[in-house]
C-alpha cells in the first residue's frame, strides 16, 4: 500500500528521460543586485482603447499588454499620451495627488505607531497608492467596494476621516469597529466600503454577489473587488470569475499584482507562465492589464470597466502591475527575502512622483507646492494622531466595554452569550 519506491524505474523502457519537478526559483536574493531583466516595458500610449461594449474577446490581447498613459521614461517631462488618456482636469489630478500623498503620510505615521508600540499590527500600501486612489475616483461614491487590507487609499480618497482610521488601528474607545478587528481591517457602510476580512480572497465572490443583487434589484450601483496576485490561487478567485461570467455581474474585479505575497514572488502564484489578467480569457470576461503606478492609466482602465459594467456588458478583470515598496506588514522583514533596494529600482517608478511630474509638466504644480503639501499633510496626520491617541491606544486603552465582546455575534444575544457575559463581568 502506497509503497512505491521513490525513483523507481519505469515499466516503459521506451521513455528513458526521468520526469523533473519544476519549482519556481526565488530570484530576488538579499544582498544581490535587483534584477528586472525579465521585464519588458512597453511604451506609453501603445494600446488602443476599445469601445466599452466590445465583445470581451476583443479585450483579450490586452491581457499581455501594459496600458500606460504617462509618457515619462525620462522622469520630468511627463506627458499623457494615447487613447487611454482620461483627460482629467488639473483639479482632479491634484485631488488624486493629494489623496495619494495623504495615504502615504497616513501609512508612514501608523507604521511608526506600531513600531512605537501603540498597536499590534499595521500594513502600508506604499508604492501602490495609485491603484486605490485613482480607482476610488473613477468609480461613483456609492459603488460598493470589496477591498483587501492594502486599499486604504479607497477610503481616504472617498474622504473617510483619518481619525476614524486611526481609532480603528488603535482599537480604542472611538474605534468604529469597537476594538474587535485587527488593525487595517476597516469597514464603513456609510462610505460603501465592505467589512474587510483577514482571510484572503473571500471578498471577491462577495463583490460579485453584491453586484448580482444590484442587478437583481434594477439598481445602478456597481461593485468593485480587489485581490492580491498571491491570493488569486485561492478558490474564491475562481468562484468570482465563474459567477461574474455566468450571471454577467456588474462588477470590476482587480488583481493588484505588487510582485510579492509576503516572501513569495508572483511566480509562485502562477505569474511565470501567464499574466493574471489572462485568467479572464478562459471565462470570456473582459480584461485589461495596466501600469499600476500610472495614475492616469489606472483611472482610465477603471472608468472603462465601470462604464462597461454599468451598461450591462458584464465584468472586467483588471491586473494592476505594481510593486509593494514596503514590508508585507509590520510582522515581516523584507530584507530577508529580497534586495533592500529593489523597490527603488522598480522599472515602473513611484506613483506619487510620476503624477507630480505630470502635473508639473502641465504647469499645474511645482516642487514647492509639492513640498508644502507634503509638510501640511504630515502635520495634519500628526495632529490627527495626537487626537486619536487621546481616545486611547491598544496597550493603554481605554477600550470598549466587555459587553461589546458578546454583542453583534447575533442580532439578539442568545442565552449562552448572556450567561458568558455575566461570567465575564464577574457576576454569578
Amino acid at each position: 500500500m502506497n509503497d512505491i519506491p521513490v525513483a523507481k524505474s519505469s515499466a516503459q523502457p521506451s521513455t528513458p528521460e526521468p520526469l523533473r519537478l519544476h519549482i519556481p526559483p526565488h530570484r530576488s536574493i538579499p544582498g544581490q543586485r535587483p534584477d528586472f531583466s525579465y521585464f519588458r516595458l512597453p511604451p506609453a500610449g501603445g494600446f488602443a482603447r476599445p469601445a466599452i461594449d466590445v465583445p470581451s474577446v476583443e479585450t483579450h490581447p490586452l491581457a499581455t499588454a501594459l496600458i500606460r498613459v504617462l509618457d515619462d521614461e525620462g522622469g520630468q517631462d511627463s506627458r499623457a499620451v494615447g487613447e487611454w488618456d482620461p483627460h482629467l482636469a488639473p483639479e482632479t489630478l491634484r485631488q488624486g495627488l493629494r489623496a495619494m500623498m495623504l495615504t502615504r503620510a497616513y501609512d508612514a505615521r501608523m507604521y511608526r505607531a506600531q513600531r512605537a508600540g501603540r498597536t499590534s499590527f499595521y500594513m502600508t500600501s506604499t508604492g501602490e497608492e495609485a491603484v486605490s486612489v485613482a480607482q476610488a475616483m473613477a468609480l461613483k461614491p456609492d459603488d460598493m467596494l470589496f477591498a483587501t487590507y492594502r486599499q486604504q487609499g479607497l477610503l481616504i480618497a472617498r474622504g473617510y476621516p483619518i481619525l476614524d482610521l486611526m481609532c480603528q488601528v488603535y482599537s480604542n474607545a472611538h474605534d468604529p469597529l469597537k476594538g474587535r478587528q485587527l488593525p487595517v481591517l476597516y469597514s464603513s457602510r456609510a462610505y460603501s466600503y465592505y467589512t474587510l476580512s483577514g482571510n484572503l480572497g473571500t471578498q471577491l465572490p462577495q463583490a460579485v454577489g453584491w453586484a448580482m443583487a444590484s442587478a437583481y434589484a434594477g439598481d445602478t450601483r456597481i461593485a468593485a473587488g480587489w485581490i492580491g496576485e498571491g491570493a488569486t490561487a485561492e478558490a474564491d478567485f475562481h468562484h468570482a470569475l465563474t459567477f461574474a461570467a455566468v450571471y454577467r455581474a456588474p462588477v470590476v474585479l482587480n488583481v493588484v499584482n505588487n510582485q510579492w505575497a509576503i516572501s513569495s514572488h508572483q511566480e509562485v502564484a502562477g505569474g511565470e507562465e501567464a499574466t493574471f489578467a489572462a485568467r479572464a480569457i478562459g471565462f470570456g470576461l473582459a480584461c485589461l492589464r495596466v501600469d499600476g503606478n500610472d495614475f492616469l492609466a489606472v483611472y482610465a482602465a477603471t472608468q472603462w470597466a465601470a462604464e462597461r459594467a454599468r451598461a450591462n456588458h458584464g465584468a472586467t478583470l483588471i491586473e494592476h502591475f505594481t510593486y509593494r515598496a514596503g514590508s508585507h506588514s509590520t510582522s515581516d522583514d523584507p530584507n530577508r527575502y529580497r534586495p533592500a533596494d529593489e523597490a527603488k529600482t522598480w522599472p515602473l517608478g513611484d506613483p506619487v512622483e510620476r503624477l507630480k511630474h505630470h502635473l508639473i509638466h502641465l504647469g499645474e504644480w511645482s516642487e514647492e507646492r509639492h513640498a508644502a503639501q507634503e509638510k501640511e499633510l504630515t502635520q495634519s496626520v500628526r495632529d490627527t494622531d495626537r487626537e486619536a491617541q487621546t481616545y486611547g491606544t491598544l496597550g493603554e486603552g481605554p477600550h470598549f466595554g466587555i459587553e461589546t465582546l458578546f454583542e453583534d455575534v447575533y442580532k439578539e444575544m442568545p442565552w449562552n452569550l448572556r450567561r458568558q457575559l455575566r461570567e465575564a463581568e464577574g457576576q454569578p
Binding site: 465592505y194 454577489g209 453584491w210 453586484a211 465563474t242 455566468v246 449562552n416
Partner: protein
C-alpha cells in the same frame, strides 16, 4: 390545512416567502428549471421567474460567497446545497464570513442567508450522500443551526430562518422528505398524509427558532433527538416500553436548554440520539450541558446512541444506522443503571 410531505412543506415555505418578500431569492444546483433533485423547488421558477429561482454552477463555495454579497446588499438569499456532504467547499465562506460579518463590522453589515441542505442517511447513498454534519456548524458562533423532523415544523422553521437576520444552516433529513421514518426499513413505509404534523397551513406562519418540542411526554427518562432520530426515538420508546419523554430539539443553535433541563430534572435520566458520528458530535455538547445543568438530578449516566465513528457505509447501511433497537437499548441502560 393540507396534508403535505416534508418536500411539499418546504416548497410551500419558499413559495410563501418569494411571494411576500421581493428580497427573497433561491439558487443552487438544479433548483431552477428542474426543481431540485429532491423536488423541493419544483414549480417555483415557473411561478416566480428565473430571476428569483435559478440554477447555480457547481461550486458550493461560490454560492455562499455570492450569497454573502447579496445579503450585504440587502437581499435574503436561500442557497440549496444539493447534499450536506457537499457543504465542505462552502465552509470558509460560511464560517469565516457569513458567521462573522455582523461582529467584525460592529453591526454595519449582516448576512441574512439561509443555507438548506439535505442530510442524513437511509437512502443507500453511501458515504457521500448520507452525512450529518451539524456538529461542525453548531461549533460556529454567529451561525444558527436548525433541523426539522416533520412537515409542519419544516415549513414554520424555514420561514423563520429566511426571516432571520443572521445566517441559518437548515438541515433537512432527506429520509423524512416523503414520509416519516421510524428506523424500521423492513416495515412498510407510511406516507406523511397519515401523520398529524403533515397538516400544514397553506399560507404564512412561523415556528420560532430556539424552541424545542416535547413530542412525547413521559417521566422516567428523557430522550433528546432531532431530525429523523425523533421518529426513531419514539419507536424506541415504544419498543423499550418506557415512560420516556421525547424532546425534538428542532433548533440546535441556539438550543432550548430550559426545556431540556426541565425534563431531565424531572426524569433524572437522559438518552441522546443522533445519526452523526459519535466523537465530537452534537450529542457531546448535549451531554456536557445536561451534566452541567442537572448533575444533582442525574440518576444514571447520560447515554449517547449515535452513528459509529466510521464513514456511512453502503451495503451495511442498516447496521450503521442507530435504529430503534439501539436507541431502545440505550433507554434500557439509562433506566436500569
Amino acid at each position: 390545512m393540507t396534508a403535505m410531505s416534508m418536500v411539499q412543506a418546504l416548497n410551500s415555505a419558499i413559495d410563501v416567502m418569494l411571494e411576500r418578500d421581493p428580497k427573497v431569492l433561491i439558487f443552487g444546483e438544479d433548483v431552477g428549471f428542474y426543481g431540485g433533485v429532491f423536488r423541493v423547488t419544483e414549480g417555483l421558477q415557473k411561478k416566480h421567474g428565473e430571476r428569483r429561482v435559478f440554477d447555480a454552477p457547481i461550486a458550493e463555495g461560490a454560492m455562499l460567497g455570492a450569497a454573502v454579497g447579496m445579503g450585504a446588499y440587502g437581499l435574503r438569499p436561500i442557497v440549496e446545497i444539493q447534499f450536506a456532504d457537499y457543504i465542505y467547499p462552502a465552509t470558509d465562506q460560511l464560517i469565516s464570513e457569513a458567521a462573522r460579518i455582523r461582529y467584525r463590522s460592529a453591526g454595519e453589515f449582516c448576512a441574512p442567508i439561509t443555507v438548506r441542505a439535505p442530510c442524513g442517511g437511509g437512502i443507500f447513498g453511501g458515504q457521500t450522500h448520507s452525512q450529518s454534519v451539524e456538529a461542525i456548524f453548531a461549533h460556529v458562533c454567529g451561525l444558527k443551526t436548525v433541523m426539522p423532523s416533520n412537515p409542519y415544523d419544516a415549513k414554520g422553521l424555514l420561514i423563520s430562518a429566511i426571516e432571520d437576520d443572521d445566517p441559518v444552516v437548515f438541515f433537512e433529513p432527506k429520509r423524512l422528505y416523503n414520509g416519516p421514518f421510524d428506523g424500521h426499513p423492513d416495515r412498510p413505509a407510511r406516507p406523511w398524509s397519515s401523520h398529524p404534523q403533515a397538516d400544514v397551513p397553506e399560507g404564512y406562519y412561523t415556528v420560532p427558532l430556539g424552541q424545542a418540542a416535547i413530542v412525547r411526554p413521559g417521566s422516567a427518562v428523557t430522550v433528546l433527538a432531532y431530525g429523523t432520530m425523533v421518529h426513531v426515538a419514539l419507536a424506541a420508546a415504544e419498543e423499550a416500553g418506557a415512560d420516556a419523554e421525547v424532546i425534538d430539539l428542532r433548533t440546535l443553535l441556539p438550543l432550548d436548554l430550559d426545556t431540556i433541563a426541565g425534563s431531565v430534572k424531572k426524569t433524572g435520566r437522559c438518552v441522546i440520539a443522533h445519526e452523526a458520528t459519535r466523537t465530537c458530535g452534537y450529542g457531546a455538547e448535549l451531554s456536557a450541558l445536561v451534566q452541567e445543568e442537572c448533575f444533582y438530578h442525574l440518576e444514571a449516566p447520560i447515554e449517547r446512541v449515535t452513528g459509529y465513528d466510521t464513514p456511512y457505509p453502503h451495503a451495511l447501511e442498516w447496521a450503521y444506522f442507530p435504529g430503534p433497537q439501539r436507541v431502545a437499548a440505550g433507554i434500557r441502560r439509562a433506566l436500569e443503571a
